[in-house]
């Protein structure tokens, strides 16, 4: 990788330029280079990895501040990880989970709280119905589902309100939506919810730990996959090189920023759609494409890590997983390193809670988050050795996580614009994936697909 200072004011040429050194952009570059194409990646940040970001705590413990899990059927990210030597280990999932509702704490085992069987029954019935509906959504063209118009005209919250009898089950399902999308159920088109569910192979995959999307973590952090991939690409990755303009004509395409200008035959824009929409294109993109990116907001999330000398909750027979109906932190996991020490609890502040607490002073937010950990795991949890929080909405080159989502009406009105190349410009990023959309695996799939498009266009 080339450091920022060396990248200053460069004028470069390549066969293909890729904007964004997240997993999508790096995969595209890796695929192209393997096919003998001269590809160059330009990245705004001073690091690779995009929405995967691994930083050490003060004692050196690696914390994943962004995407972190890998699970069954995520075969593309697994293959990339294996190829670059990124090992995984099992998420700690032994013991009982905690359910915190109406001020009361209870324990349960498995993906769905079973404290109140009636509520659980309603949740299971809703999950089954949503799963069955999701099967009807074509992954490459959600707008072609037989019920697309009906489903895209309502939010996930509307469906939950109209189809789930008990208030407790409705609350639990809305918490599930927050956990998966880092947005509120009212924010998201039902059609998008169903597409996303189908792309993951069902809600069991999305919500599950063992056997689901949260099953494993990377020993050296999720960013290690991107770092290793970028290292293999070497000087083909330029860091600290934000791009502001994309100009194309019959001779080629040029992406340019303050520090670098790259002219190529083809460009792959591998950044989240809302950020792709902020680039200035010449000629201007068709209104149809631009209006798509106007309508795809990013999720809102803080990841909060608390470090302790040991994972004391394990001794109490707890997994470290919580689902709660109140407070800023409503979902937690045991995020301790493979060796088990120090103990690390991970909490998510998502959707409305992230929007609210993101505007409060850090000390106030920290106190509120620690009060949650204390309610769930006892006083010891409220006094960690170290507290680390990270807000993705504040990240200039992500502006949110985990992914961009579709509010009502977007898939049916603009869906076709999501992947369709415009002249010499191709689109990648997990939001464009048909499998595991929104996940690292989807990012890799999108990079492979964009690379294949480019190879076809180049006649390679």
């Amino acid at each position: 990788m080339q450091p920022a200072a060396q990248a200053r004011s460069q004028v470069r040429r390549a066969q293909v330029v890729i904007v964004g050194a997240g997993l999508a952009g790096l995969t595209a570059a890796r695929t192209l280079v393997a096919a003998g194409v001269d590809a160059l990646v330009v990245e705004a940040r001073d690091r690779a990895g995009g929405r995967t970001y691994t930083r050490p705590a003060s004692d050196g413990t690696l914390l994943d501040l962004g995407g972190q899990w890998i699970g069954p059927t995520q075969d593309r990210i697994a293959a990339l990880a294996a190829a670059v030597g990124a090992d995984t280990f099992s998420t700690y999932d032994t013991g009982d989970n905690i359910s915190f509702r109406d001020g009361a704490r209870a324990t349960y085992n498995g993906a769905i709280p079973t404290v109140d069987p009636l509520i659980s029954g309603d949740v299971i019935e809703a999950l089954l119905n949503l799963n069955m509906m999701s099967q009807e959504v074509p992954l490459d063209a959600p707008w072609q589902a037989a019920s697309a118009a009906e489903w895209d005209a309502q939010t996930a919250a509307t469906w939950i309100r109209d189809n789930v009898p008990s208030a407790g089950a409705r609350q639990m399902l809305e918490l599930g939506v927050q956990a998966v999308f880092s947005a509120e159920a009212r924010d998201i088109s039902l059609l998008h919810f169903l597409f996303y569910t189908h792309s993951a192979g069902g809600l069991r995959n999305l919500l599950g730990v063992t056997g689901g999307a949260q099953e494993r973590r990377f020993v050296r952090g999720a960013q290690s996959v991107a770092n290793q991939t970028a290292a293999e690409l070497g000087e083909r990755v330029l860091l600290s090189a934000p791009i502001y303009t994309v100009t194309q004509d019959e001779r080629g395409v040029t992406v340019a920023g303050d520090t670098v200008s790259v002219t190529a035959e083809r460009a792959i824009i591998a950044i989240p759609p809302p950020l792709a929409g902020r680039l200035r294109y010449a000629p201007a993109l068709p209104g149809y494409r631009d209006q798509l990116t106007q309508r795809m907001p990013m999720g809102s999330v803080y990841k909060v890590h608390c470090l302790y000398d040991a994972p004391f909750w394990r001794e109490e027979g707890l997994t470290g997983q919580v689902s709660s109906d109140s407070g800023p932190v409503r979902i937690t996991f045991d995020n301790s390193p493979p060796a088990g020490t120090p103990g690390v609890l991970l909490g998510f502040i998502e959707g409305d809670e992230a929007r609210y607490w993101g505007r409060r002073p850090m000390e106030e937010r920290r106190a509120a988050a620690l009060a949650c950990f204390g309610r769930y795991f006892g006083e010891r949890a409220a006094a960690p050795q170290e507290y680390v929080e990270y807000s993705w909405a504040e990240e200039e080159f992500s502006r949110g996580c985990y992914a961009a989502y579709m509010p009502t009406g977007v898939w049916t009105a603009y869906g076709e614009a999501l992947r369709e190349p415009i002249g010499r410009i191709h689109w990648a990023g997990t939001e464009t994936a048909t499998i595991w959309n929104g996940y690292m695996d989807g990012a890799v799939q999108s990079g492979e697909r964009a690379a294949a498009e480019v190879l076809a266009a180049l006649g390679s």
């Binding site: 085992n109 498995g110 993906a111 769905i112 079973t114 069987p117 029954g121 019935e125 069955m132 063992t210």
Partner: protein, 120 residues
């Protein structure tokens, strides 16, 4: 380890509870499925369950017909689930019992197992 006879007894009890569940019949209405159940640690502990219109009709010894779903696991784990002693969606069971078939069938089986476990 559970014996074949114990597994059969547990399965018969499971069928009775499934037939008594209004929620199973209502939610799984229209579901037709032939399910093979195999204990990995007991020779010949193989059963065929037939579901018609969402109703778990019967269990027979042996594997009959083409299976839509194949459920495998240790005899002890299978017996615990069939007796309703263990949450089929528990962290442990997620790894201990495998269901192979179309996503539709697996999802419906998951729901049926949870309804029965919850006494719904």
């Amino acid at each position: 380890m559970a014996t074949k006879a114990e597994l059969r007894e547990a399965l018969d009890d499971y069928v009775a509870r499934a037939q008594a569940s209004e929620r199973v019949r209502k939610t799984l209405k229209g579901w037709n499925c032939v399910m093979h159940i195999q204990a990995t640690d007991v020779p010949d502990a193989e059963f065929t369950a037939t579901i018609q219109s969402g109703e778990l009709l019967s269990v027979e010894d042996g594997l009959h017909g083409a299976a839509d779903l194949i459920v495998t696991g240790g005899s002890e784990d299978l017996a615990k689930v069939f007796w309703g002693e263990e949450n089929p969606a528990s962290n442990y069971m997620q790894g201990a019992i495998q269901s192979r078939g179309s996503q539709d069938d697996v999802m419906r089986l998951d729901a049926m197992a949870m309804f029965i476990y919850l006494g719904q």
